[in-house]
Each structure stands twice: as structure tokens, then as C-alpha cells.
Symmetry: C2
């Protein structure tokens, strides 16, 4: 299995126990870690170096849950260069006001602050500076999601799995929400502007636990 060797070489996985000179034995802990690496890589879209950093935080017994969550968030963001034009300055001020208005705890190095400013500045440059008006709706929705996530962690997760679960929830939860948001968009758009109903699988008021039969195979 060359991918396992690669992960071992990159420091993501500890080496297996050598059962013969050419054969290493991987136990349940290895397999679980391997599944986590693949999920972060394939669904979360994290790079190998970022995964190594996050797993380093997961494995550090000195690292508090809050710090690991921060480490996971840090690795998710912070790509791209910070600009310094008028839109960037306006966007940063809007983010600061949002954080103050919501009373959000944050830390200076949280790259989400700069990521948010960068996205808003890009909006401003294409003529949508007024998009900042939606920030409180976005914040309401984000708080709802964050509460659900933390509630799940508190209810469902054994203490020894807490740190790993927070990483999974942070990274994979983002992929889940993005997909759900796109579904909600298509629905809202269909209701408002939909003219071409023929390509919609309208599954309305179908309250039961059964999906429409024809939908399963693509």
C-alpha cells in the first residue's frame, strides 16, 4: 500500500510494527487514523502539510480542546495575500464591527478574520460592497450551526475522542454546510425565478422517511 508508506514518510502516520523485513503490521489505531487522514484530504480538501499540523495538535496532550479547534481553523484558512486597497480597508472595518456587535471571542491570529475581509473586499471590487448588509444574517446562521456542532460534540463524543471529533466537525462540517447551502439556493431560486420546472425533481410535502424511488440512481 504505497499511500500508507507515503503518509508514514510525511509524518502523518506512525510507522507500523515490522512483522517481517518487508511487511509492516498496522493495527486498529492506524486504520482509524488512516480513515481520518483520507477524510481530511479528500472531503475536507486539506493539504498534506496542513493535515500534519492539525494531527500534531490532536496528538499533543498539552493542547487544550480550544487550542486544537483553533489549530484546525487556522489550517483551513489563511490562503492568499492580504490586499491593501480601499475595498480591503473597508472590508476589514466591517469585520471588526461585526465581531464587536456580536460580542464574539476571537484571537488576533485567527485567519478567519482575514479570510472574511478578503472575501468581502472581493465582493466590493465587483460592485457588491453592500453585501456586508447580510453579515448579521450570515452570523445568525453561523451561530446556529456552531451551537449544533458543539451540542453534538458534548452529547455524542467520549472525552478521549473529543479533540479528533472537533477536527472532523470543523473540516467535514464545512463541506456538509456548503453542500446544504447550495441545495437551499437551488430551492430558493426555483421558488422565486424557476421557469424550467421540467428538470426539477420536485419532492414537496413528502414528510415521510421515504425518498422518491426514481432519485436514487443518477
Amino acid at each position: 500500500m504505497p499511500t500508507i508508506k507515503y503518509y508514514v514518510r510525511e509524518g502523518l502516520l506512525p510507522p507500523g510494527e515490522l512483522s517481517s523485513p518487508n511487511q509492516a503490521h498496522y493495527d486498529e489505531v492506524h486504520e482509524r487514523r488512516l480513515r481520518l487522514i483520507r477524510a481530511l484530504l479528500e472531503v475536507g480538501g486539506l493539504k498534506v502539510a496542513a493535515i500534519a499540523e492539525v494531527l500534531g495538535a490532536v496528538d499533543d496532550p498539552e493542547c487544550s480542546l480550544h487550542k486544537v479547534l483553533g489549530a484546525a481553523a487556522d489550517r483551513l484558512g489563511g490562503q492568499g495575500v492580504a490586499d491593501d486597497d480601499a475595498e480591503a480597508v473597508t472590508a476589514r472595518a466591517a469585520v471588526e464591527r461585526l465581531i464587536a456587535r456580536r460580542g464574539w471571542h476571537t484571537h488576533q491570529s485567527n485567519p478567519a478574520v482575514e479570510d472574511l475581509a478578503r472575501a468581502l473586499a472581493a465582493m466590493g471590487r465587483v460592485g457588491h460592497g453592500a453585501f456586508t448588509e447580510l453579515l448579521d444574517d450570515y452570523a445568525d446562521a453561523a451561530e446556529l450551526v456552531a451551537r449544533a456542532d458543539l451540542g453534538y460534540v458534548g452529547r455524542r463524543v467520549a472525552v478521549e475522542d473529543l479533540v479528533e471529533s472537533v477536527v472532523i466537525g470543523t473540516v467535514l462540517g464545512e463541506a456538509v454546510f456548503n453542500a446544504v447551502r447550495r441545495l437551499a439556493h437551488v430551492d430558493a431560486s426555483a421558488r422565486l425565478y424557476g421557469a424550467d420546472r421540467e428538470d426539477e425533481g420536485t419532492v414537496e410535502e413528502e414528510k415521510g422517511e421515504k425518498g422518491e424511488k426514481g432519485e436514487k440512481g443518477e
Copy 2:
């Protein structure tokens, strides 16, 4: 400007008007399109080929708003291979039930359906199949965001800019929400588990429009 030439070569930008054999003239329409391309590329994370497809839909006068929104959503997702293990089957069924329960309009080819199933299956493989319990909270939040987005489009956007605005909102709005969600996570985590207060810029109950002075410089 080599990047402009590159975008012209890739079909993202129409060629400028030649003002001399080695000098092309780019007008306001070009510049606006260039800003849009850069935003989709740098903040939205779309690939050049995906941008070409989305802009093709934007420029097609036959394309209804609902279809363009679909084209933008299609280009955002659909990466990765569909799996067929038990977790994938369970996850797809959960997505079907969600869509039925919410009464969401969707179309068969919407890649968000498969993306959502893929993310949930990855959760299942790392022992978090129960995460599907959060889907309705995620859907509530996503509907809130989708309503805000569509409301903005309806209020703020001139008819001739509608299609372009939907693309911007779909792609950049995702970057905005992901960053806001990460801020909300750090806040929720700080409130629940925060032990290391020293690295937080606690900006609590500061309802006014003024951010904390010390926060501006990183």
C-alpha cells in the same frame, strides 16, 4: 499584462481592440469581467475551466437565471469519486430524506446532492454517522442564508446585472459563510471550553459600531 493574455487565450475574456500591432485596448466591460475572474479564481477557488463554463452561462442570453444559478452551483461541486460502501449508501438515503422532509426543489444532476452524501459518508467512516442528526439545524441555517442572499439580489441588483450577481453571491458568499462559521466556532468553543483566555481579544457586549482600538494591527 500576461494574465490578461492568458485569460483571453483560455476564452475567459474577449480579445481587446487592437490599437496598434502590439497594443490592445481594454474597456470598462473588460475590466469589470477581469475583476470578476480574479474574484472567482482567488477567493472562490474555482479553476479556470470552471470559470469558463460559468461565464459561458452568464453570457448566454437564452439561459434563465435559475439555470445560471444551477451552472454556478454545478461548477462549485462534484469533485471526487462517488463511493459505494455501506456508509455511502446510508449517507445518500439520509440526503434523500432531508430533501423530502424540507420539500426542497432540486434537480437530478445537482452535484450538491452527491457532495453532501460524500461528506456525510466520510463522517460515517470516521465514526460520526450520528452527525446526520444535525442536518435539520444545518438546513435551517442554510435556508436563512439562502433567503438573505436572494433578498439581497432582489433588492440591490439591476436586472442586467442579475445573472452576474447570482454567480458572485454563490461563489464568494460561500467563502464569506465559511469564514463567519469559523469565527462562530471559535467563539462557541471559547465560551464552552476556553481555558487559555490570554490569547483572546475578548470584545464582549460592545454593541456600538466601534471595534476595539488595539485590534486593527495584527
